[in-house]
Amino acid sequence: MTITAPECLLRLYEEHPDLEDYQGGAPRWCAGCGDNAILAAVQRLCRDEALRPEKTAFISGIGCSSRFPHYMKTYGFHGIHGRALPVAEGVRMARPDLHVFVSTGDGDCCSIGAGHWIHAVRYNMNMTVFLHDNHVYGLTKKQASPTSPRGLRTNTTPRGAYLEALNPLTVTLGVQNASFVAQAVDWIPEILYSIVSAAFHHKGFSFVRILQRCPKFLPDLFDPWLHDPQKVLVLTHDNGLQLSPGLAKVHKNRREHDPADLDRAREIASGADPIPVGILYRNPGVPCYEDLRRSGKLRTGAFVRAGLEAELDKFTIWPQGHA
């Protein structure tokens, strides 16, 4: 905008929203489900950043975790299985003024939506993506997902999963243009919030894998990590995560890691025990696809109509003699 009406005078009237301002319907997740923790962290972020609900869009696919948009009092799109990312990309393209968040499950993202995932990383569009990774299909009642650990008994693998689990962090870090990769666990709220916030502030495709408990179908899966802070490796850095003194006392297993160091990030990401938690990689220099492709052309009604007509004309069968 070139008009510089004295901003300070006009924006005197700041709003101070509460958490309630972002709470949509009451969550229908099981009690104890880690999705609740993610929801609380994200609602806190919205409140702390005073995001305007009408400027914020939550997009998801299908799954328990994908019910996320229903519980946010913002714009939302509960999409189709595996397609959260392409929908979010479309939103970014058409409405670059919106803050776009994506919630996707490990089945949604890494199984049926894996193709979209890889390309979304490469497109690096400005959005914040939460991979709610509970290692299982929750909504459809316990089938193995690509991130299920080997040996996990599920309805589709009654004798235990045969394959090693796919590692969403190393996959993402291996894709060209990856610009923000972090990992959090739902049971350490302070770190979860810090990472969600860092992801939001990164301009580009911010990929946050959150290890999420599904007490309904895998009640003990994360217990060893839940009860032993030593089994969580906290990555700290001046440009990364910093712990409060209180939390630092509990989490003594820490390591300095510079998020600019891609090689080191890949090395850390490949470890699963202890679980690395923190910002693995951040590169603010990667261009965003929507910026590269922004035409600057105003999308007036007439403009959109003309574009549609031209597109439809390609498939129109004209009567004979029509030019």
Binding site: L19, C33, G34, N36, P215, L247, K249
Partner: protein
């Protein structure tokens, strides 16, 4: 001989020939030797004529004909024999166009090219047409061709100003169009949700004709009307947005390209006097405020940030502030073109006042003659005083962009001109055209160039946006040899023995004045027979201290039309004026940091101090070496932060480690009075008596992060306590 010397000295001092010698005849057309080479400009390649390129990218708005031709040659001519042929033909074309322009021909490059091509091709030369058509296809720009003359500066500035305004207009229009679109979207969405929007007629209109029969629009309308959402567009907001759209659509400052916005006549912004520009500015101020306000409100509206209870009053009372000094710069600037000579004292004062007030004026003050008589007729010559004053006074206002230059140099300064026109504030451009005066057939370009060479009209710029200090703001960069008093040129001639003599000659004010017939009486040509060693060149004379009666006489080498070298003695008044001119130039140099006296003093002092220190060090080095300083002890290895003693909590009271709560709902589902969420949606104990000890223990057991501590039972009568106390043990 002695009497001849006396006569020469006397002329120098008094300007009168004691012996009544005839003045140099005009027939010789004597000209200062350094200018002798430039009799026919159209045979030279130099910056002019210019091409005022249409629709050129920024920075390419003003081009030189030669530059354009060079680029066309580069693109069209391969580096081989054929390329040489094309090159030759294109250069001839350039010369033909130059000649057309010099003869008063005008128009666009394309038309001049056609005319010239017609003439050249009539010679029937082989392949000429081929060369020209290939070069023409490679020409990068078209536009008016403009020679360096009286009308040039005004045309050039108007063109550059337009280029700048167009890009400003484009940005502004983009914003306005976006706002109009977004506001219209809000109105359209409001309509769609309104009762009217859900009427059967509307619904019918929105469904394509093909399937109209398949719907019962009455029923549809009834259904939809029953579920009208709450957040429809309030009438007051609808009216406000509609009026914003109308203000934005009917503004007259930035008309939509190709059409008159809403049929309204766009404002004009080019004026021939400051007073007229100021009048227009004042008349339009209310419209500017209204538009700026509309834009500000519209921005709030599209962000859904307009709060009636607060903003209504703000805009009513302080709305004018929306148009701060910064806001003004978003509107078009007023281009004012004035002749500096026509300006009276009152005009002067008015101009300075307007510039000082920071109004968005871009003023071109053109001077055609800087050798006119001094306004204070006390026998002083005071060349160019008036126009030089203009620039100096404007610089003193400190927030004004100032550029002074001869017309000949405007092409070199095009970047600075554009920067000045883009500068968010007033700007003054003082330009000497070289087209007045009495320099005979000397082309205005040469007169202007000579004025700059001779420091009579130096080029400089002062850009307040370039930084905080003079070093960043002020520049003398485009003057020839800005480090010297006078620029130096080589001159070569043949002496009586036909030997080639070359020497270096400084170009001084006297050379410049020597071109102007009005000052012929200050020069006396001396026949070759009377030349003597007491005659020395003007620059040499100027550096001599003059105490007592002069022993030497200053003289200027002149060249006649036939190429013969002459010498003229220069009157003392001119010498005095040349010295004054040099002083003025030296002050400019100081401002630009050249031979800056303060800096030089400081440098001398520092150098002295440094040398003293060095001597002292050298002396000390011979004495005993001081013991190497012991390294500072390394900082003690990080002492682990003293673990604070665990806060002792009364184990009898139930509590939750709230910061570690994952908001999982387990406990709140057990009892949402006993366990409550705080503003971060993290659990703490609400009313411990709102439930049973059993519930406390069950919550502690089901909390997966084990942060609920149930404490001791509060009601000793609760059944099954023994078992519960045991279960609570791990969580205490």
């Amino acid at each position: 001989m002695h009497s001849e010397l006396q006569a020469q000295l006397a002329f120098h001092l008094t300007g009168v020939w004691s012996a009544g010698r005839p003045e140099a005849s005009d027939a010789l057309e004597l000209r200062p030797a350094l200018l002798a080479a430039y009799r026919n400009l159209s045979r030279l390649r130099y910056d002019f004529p210019l091409v005022l390129a249409r629709n050129a990218p920024h920075g390419g708005a003003v081009q030189s004909l030669s530059g354009l031709m060079d680029r066309a040659i580069e693109d069209a001519a391969p580096r081989d024999g054929e390329g040489e042929r094309i090159r030759g033909h294109v250069l001839r074309m350039e010369q033909a166009i130059r000649a057309l322009v010099a003869a008063g021909g005008g128009g666009s490059l394309a038309t001049l090219w056609d005319t010239a091509a017609g003439r050249l091709e009539s010679s029937g030369e082989d392949l000429l047409a081929d060369s020209l058509s290939r070069a023409r296809a490679a020409l990068k720009a078209d536009g008016e061709v403009l020679d360096c003359g009286k009308a040039m500066p005004a045309r050039l500035f108007e063109h550059a100003w337009r280029t700048v305004q167009e890009s400003k207009a484009r940005r502004f229009r983009e914003d306005i169009d976006r706002l109009i679109l977004r506001l219209s979207d809000i109105l359209a969405a409001g309509l769609a949700l309104s009762e009217e929007g859900r009427s059967p007629e509307r619904l019918r209109a929105e469904v394509g004709a093909a399937h109209r029969e398949a719907f019962d629009f009455e029923a549809m309308s009834r259904l939809l009307a029953g579920s009208l959402p709450k957040g429809t567009l309030p009438e007051s907001r609808r009216r406000r947005i509609a009026s914003l759209v109308s203000v934005l659509e009917s503004q007259r400052f930035f008309p939509a390209p190709g059409e008159r916005a809403g049929g309204v006549e766009p404002y004009a912004f080019v004026f021939e006097s400051c007073a007229a520009a100021l009048r227009a500015f004042r008349e339009r101020r209310p419209a500017m405020i209204a538009l700026a306000q509309a834009v500000a409100v519209a921005r709030l509206e599209v962000e859904n940030e307009y709060v009636e209870s607060k903003h209504d009053a703000f805009f009513e009372e302080f709305g004018e502030n929306v148009l701060g000094p910064k806001g003004v710069t978003l509107f078009p600037d007023y281009l004012v073109r004035i002749g500096a000579a026509d300006m009276q004292a009152a005009g002067h004062a008015g101009l300075m006042e307007a510039l000082g007030a920071g109004l968005p004026l871009k003023v071109l003050a053109q001077t055609d003659d800087i050798l006119d008589e001094s306004p204070v007729r006390d026998g002083q010559l005071a060349f160019g005083a008036r126009s030089r004053q203009l620039a100096a006074m404007a610089i003193a206002l400190s927030e004004v962009y100032v550029l002074q230059s001869s017309a000949s140099n405007l092409f070199q300064l095009r970047e600075r001109i554009l920067r000045g026109l883009e500068y968010p504030g007033p700007a003054l451009f003082s330009v000497f055209s070289g087209a007045g005066g009495a320099c005979g057939e000397l082309a205005p370009y040469l007169v202007a160039a000579a004025a700059m060479e001779s420091r009579a009209f130096p080029a400089f710029s002062y850009d307040p946006s370039a930084g905080e200090d003079w070093a960043s703001r002020f520049s003398l960069e485009n003057n020839p040899r800005a480090d010297l008093d006078w620029p130096v040129h080589a001159i070569a001639y043949e002496d009586d023995e036909h030997q080639r003599i070359s020497e270096e000659l400084a170009f001084t004010l006297v050379d410049f004045v020597g071109c102007d017939r009005r000052y012929a009486k200050h020069f006396a040509t001396i026949p070759r027979a009377m030349w003597n060693e007491r005659m020395i060149a003007v620059p040499e004379y100027l550096v001599r201290e003059t105490k007592g009666p002069p022993e030497k006489v200053p003289c200027l080498p002149l060249v006649g039309r036939d190429g013969t070298l002459h010498r003229a003695i220069v009157g003392e008044k001119l010498i005095r004026e040349a010295r004054r001119c040099r002083e003025a130039w030296r002050s400019l140099q100081e401002l630009a940091g050249i031979h800056n006296s303060h800096a030089e003093r400081l440098l001398a002092r520092e150098r002295k101090a440094w040398e003293e220190q060095r001597t002292a060090h050298a002396a000390a080095a011979l004495g005993p070496q001081p013991a190497a300083e012991a390294p500072a002890p390394a900082a003690a290895p990080g002492v682990p932060a003293q673990a604070e003693p665990e806060e002792e909590r009364p184990r009898d009271e139930p509590y939750i480690e709230t910061p570690r709560c994952t908001s999982c709902n387990e406990c709140t589902q057990i009892n949402d009075k006993m366990f409550v969420y705080d503003s971060n949606k993290q659990a703490s104990i609400g009313d411990p008596d709102a439930g049973t000890y059993r519930q406390l223990v069950e919550a502690a057991e089901s909390c997966q992060v084990s942060i609920i501590h149930p404490g001791r039972p509060r009601n000793p009568a609760e059944p099954g306590l023994d078992e519960l106390i045991k279960r609570a043990e791990p969580f205490l």
